[in-house]
């Protein structure tokens, strides 16, 4: 039986059997960054669409977080340009352990990998997705799985670990994803959280039909 797999420009056609593993980097020597992989699986779990690209870059909020924790800063309320995902300014402390966590649980769309429908170009000052897709089964929503992680590994030139999240469509209609991001949480007290965007990417339209699942992998890499 002949099987046709639809593709869009810049994408690779996926065989009907198995999952294609990525064992390469798109980064240059000396770079610290990420490779983004977005896969759509049908109801049978078969990957039907896939995009792979070098992530745009860490945005400025990540650089500020890195600076604050390398400095062992106690309070960085005055750190210029450090904005939460809601646009507010918040201090960060080094005296907490959940300083830049991405381990969002099931259904929590405030941090971890996020997806959205916005298509505005990425800028270094981005502090949130343009139009975040919320968790849920309502129109335009996707159900967010818990974040999972692949342990660090390395070869002769590359070190990496992987962050993964599944987004399942139970909304009854199509949901189009045009952007992805990674948000880190800074927990500074009991039930007190600040969310900071670390990565944002704009992708070619990925239509997620009802009943299908979008998997987003961010592979954080360093190349020597």
């Amino acid at each position: 039986m002949k099987v046709e797999i639809k593709t869009t420009p810049g994408m690779e056609a996926i065989p009907t059997a198995g999952v294609v593993k990525i064992n390469k980097t798109l980064l240059s020597p000396g770079e610290l960054g990420a490779v983004l992989e977005v896969m759509l699986r049908n109801r049978q779990g078969v990957v039907t669409h896939r995009q792979v690209k070098k992530a745009e870059s860490f945005v400025g909020q990540f650089l500020r977080l890195l600076f604050a924790f390398m400095m062992q800063g106690n309070e960085f309320s005055a750190l210029p340009g450090l904005y939460m995902t809601d646009g507010g300014i918040h201090s960060v402390k080094y005296t907490v352990t959940e300083r830049m966590a991405a381990n969002a649980p099931l259904s929590n769309d405030s941090y971890g990998i996020q997806v959205g429908s916005g298509s505005a170009a990425v800028t270094v000052g981005d502090y949130a997705l343009a139009t975040k897709i919320a968790h849920g089964v309502g129109a335009g929503q996707l159900q967010h799985s818990a974040m999972t992680f692949g342990a660090p590994a390395s070869d002769a030139t590359l070190s990496q670990f992987t962050l993964t999240r599944d987004f399942s469509n139970g909304s009854g209609g199509n949901v189009t994803v045009r952007e992805t991001g990674l948000v880190l949480v800074h927990k500074y007290g009991n039930n007190a959280f600040a969310y900071f965007l670390a990565l944002r990417d704009v992708i070619a339209d990925m239509v997620v039909p009802n009943g299908e699942t979008l998997t987003v992998n961010y592979r954080i890499q360093a190349v020597v």
Partner: protein
């Protein structure tokens, strides 16, 4: 994110003599592992810069790289020279698996002496206790140095019981087995002293000195890290229970009542009844000894600072921040720098330094006596 590495060699007056600039190749696997710990809140097992395996978990000061100058405590836990920007003389290209500089240049804050001077040791004149050295009965003083020392000679404070004529005292520096306070392996360097019965039998004894057959550099470190502890092992050939050399010690606990030179520490007293094949240790006795030597070639580590995020008016990059450290050559001879690194803190049972980045220079930089080397790391992003 890429990192720009800049080296500037300055005259004693601060004039720019030479500048090098290259893209860093550097972030190693340890840095990826520490990002993983922060993002997942899970632990990892990685090696610190001394090669000791550590089970790292989330900690308040994970990722800290800012450091005070010299031996001031960085982050409250680690001597400043072991944190932040580092320099070395290795030239093997970096790999993700690197856990340390290939040949780290030590912190040195003085000119290399023309002759041997007292560098480390302990002496408490009013005590009278001692251990016996004869035949297979050996003893060792386990210690740490506070700064890098090029060891040339060693002394122990001793006296004799009976006759030691015709015997030979051997003092050797040995490594200490990881995770223990026990001497291990053969002498790294050693020296001998012919004994006779002119050696006093009266307290407080006398200094008995050997000159080592070669030299080695003793490096400061952290108490439970490999390579930070050294053992001065003493023994004589022959003798018996009525004719032996007495090595004096101070009987106390492991508190700070002993005399230290700089930030060095005396940590243990060890004995062996089988000629060094096995040892037992105790912190109850503090052996009286001295290490004499000189500074090794090295550089004086200034503070390792971070400067706030900047957004250049004319990109690229879009944003960057700057890490900077000055290294002054006060040792009196030229020092060649060919590798650069970055140490950061990570928490396991305590905080230890871990390698985050390592680079080998396209061409070495020779820092002459009196000159200053400025090393700048600038992580930067372009969206």
């Amino acid at each position: 994110m890429q990192t720009l590495l800049t080296l500037r060699r300055l005259s004693p007056q601060g004039h720019l003599l030479e500048q090098r600039r290259q893209l860093s190749r550097s972030f190693v696997r340890n840095f990826i592992e520490l990002l993983y710990v922060n993002m997942t809140q899970a632990g990892v097992t990685i090696s610190d810069v001394f090669g000791q395996s550590r089970s790292v978990s989330v900690g308040y000061s994970n990722l800290v790289t800012a450091a005070p100058p010299a031996r001031g405590l960085g982050g409250g836990y680690i001597p400043g020279d072991l944190l932040g920007i580092q320099v070395g003389s290795g030239n093997t290209p970096p790999t993700p698996a690197d856990v340390a500089l290939e040949a780290r240049i030590p912190h040195v804050d003085g000119a290399i002496e023309a002759g041997d001077v007292f560098k480390e040791g302990f002496y408490y004149p009013s005590v009278t206790s001692s251990t016996q050295l004869y035949g297979n009965n050996w003893a060792a003083a386990v210690f740490m140095v506070g700064q890098a020392v090029r060891a040339y000679k060693a002394r122990i404070r001793g006296l004799r019981l009976g006759s030691v004529a015709g015997r030979t005292l051997t003092l050797g520096i040995r490594a200490v087995a990881a995770g223990t306070y026990l001497p291990t392996g053969a002498d790294i360097i050693a020296g001998t002293l012919a004994l006779d019965d002119t050696i006093t039998t009266v307290q407080p004894g006398q200094w008995l000195e050997v000159t080592f057959g070669g030299q080695t550099t003793l490096h400061p470190g952290l108490a439970d890290c490999p390579g930070a502890l050294y053992a001065l092992v003493g023994r004589i050939d022959g003798g018996d229970g009525s004719n032996y050399l007495r090595w004096r010690y101070y009987t106390s606990g492991s508190d700070g009542s002993y005399t230290r030179y700089r930030e060095g520490q005396y940590t243990r007293y060890c004995t062996s009844g089988n000629g060094g094949s096995s040892w037992t240790d105790s912190d109850y006795h503090q052996m009286e000894f001295q290490i004499l030597g000189r500074y090794p070639p090295g550089l004086l580590y200034g503070g390792s600072s971070l400067e706030l995020i900047e957004e250049p008016a004319v990109p690229p990059p879009d944003q960057r921040f700057t890490m900077r450290r000055y290294f002054s050559n006060v040792c009196g001879q030229a020092v060649t720098v060919s590798e650069i690194g970055l140490h950061i803190m990570a928490y396991s049972t305590s905080y230890y330094p871990h390698l985050a980045a390592r680079d080998v220079l396209g061409a070495p930089v020779v820092v002459n006596s009196g000159e200053i080397l400025e090393v700048i790391y600038q992580p930067q992003i372009n969206v």
